[in-house]
């Protein structure tokens, strides 16, 4: 009898909590579709000169953790992110690759000269076609790859504080998974 009397209250509370949670979810947190999937094909020219800047072989190299960061000189948050990338590149056993997204190579180079170049290799995605192939919605966006499988996708800028609190432990975990 008591339960029956309070039933409407419980239903109300249930809906209320569901709606309140929904209200505070960030619509920019787009669920990643490529987690635990093989890296999409990649073949991009370098920022400078001819030939190949980055290709599938680079990002599927076994053994190391490969981090692919999409950036652009015109992208504000990428400047914010830059110190974090510096720290990221110093973690042992990782390779950090940068792909300039819809950016003039000359501008990308100036950007890297001004803020420093944390990348082991860079490439230019002039038309952003490769980014779409990777499910990128905007810069900056960072992929963490092991043995050719995308393991984690970070949307938006990485912050320095996050490197120690989240990213480094995540990389360590990936590294310890199977000593290959």
């Amino acid at each position: 009898m008591l339960i029956k009397r309070f039933l409407p209250l419980f239903i109300f509370l249930g809906i209320f909590i569901a709606f309140m949670t929904g209200l505070f979810l960030n619509p920019r947190d787009i669920p990643s579709a490529l987690i635990n999937k093989p890296v999409p094909e990649l073949s991009l020219p370098p920022l400078q000169g001819a030939g190949i800047g980055l290709d599938t072989a680079d990002v599927t190299a076994p053994g190391t953790i490969i981090i692919v960061n999409f950036f652009a000189s015109w992208c504000g948050p990428c400047r914010v992110e830059h110190p974090a990338l510096d720290r990221l590149s110093k973690i042992p056993g990782v390779k950090l690759y940068g792909i300039a997204y819809k950016d003039r190579p000359a501008n990308s180079l100036i950007f890297l000269k001004t803020y420093g170049n944390p990348y082991d290799k860079t490439a230019a995605d002039l038309k952003g076609r490769n980014a779409i192939n990777w499910g990128v919605t905007g810069t900056p966006e960072t992929f963490f790859i092991k043995n050719g499988i995308i393991r984690y996708q970070h949307i938006g800028p990485l912050y320095e504080a996050q490197i120690d609190s989240d990213i480094r432990p995540m990389i360590l975990k990936l590294q310890q998974e199977d000593p290959s």
Partner: protein, 154 residues
């Protein structure tokens, strides 16, 4: 004259038709272009969320439109193109989410709520008033009513 104004008013409502596909790279084959636009209408712009990529002016939306047109031109089916998009961006890119276990509550939720509400209303309407019919007035009460009525009249 009147007909002219009526048609003018009606044509104002057609303006949104022209707003679709401002791209210069529309497909030459009208049937293919129509098919491409039908597909684009189903795809969410990931920058200006809740707009389809047809309506959005964002760079990414434009790039996605280019891809859809290319794929339609090369003869891919709607299913193939939507699969290409969901493989990269997940179901999120579809403005109409597919029905599956994870979205069952989303699709059936309103129906369930309607059902619960319906049952509650039905039970409320059918509920008999508590107790039996009111007992007849006692002689004392009759007396009192008569008195009140009499007072009211004066």
């Amino acid at each position: 004259m009147r007909l002219f104004f009526i048609s003018l008013i009606y044509s104002a409502f057609c303006l949104n038709l022209y707003a679709i596909g401002v791209d210069n790279d529309q497909l030459k084959n009208p049937a293919q272009e129509a098919q491409a636009q039908a597909i684009m209408m189903q795809l969410r712009c990931l920058v200006c969320q809740n707009q389809s990529i047809v309506e959005s002016d964002a760079d990414l939306a434009h790039d996605l439109r280019v891809i859809v047109r290319e794929k339609v031109k090369s003869g891919q089916t709607e299913k193939q193109i939507l699969a290409f998009m969901t493989n990269r961006y997940g179901d999120w890119i579809l403005l109409k989410p597919p029905f599956k276990a994870a979205t069952a509550l989303l699709w059936l939720g309103p129906l369930i709520l309607l059902l619960i509400g319906g049952i509650l209303v039905f039970r409320f309407v059918r509920k008999k008033p508590a107790g039996d019919a009111p007992s007849p007035l006692s002689a004392e009460e009759e007396q009192r009513i008569l008195q009140i009525l009499k007072e009211g009249r004066e």
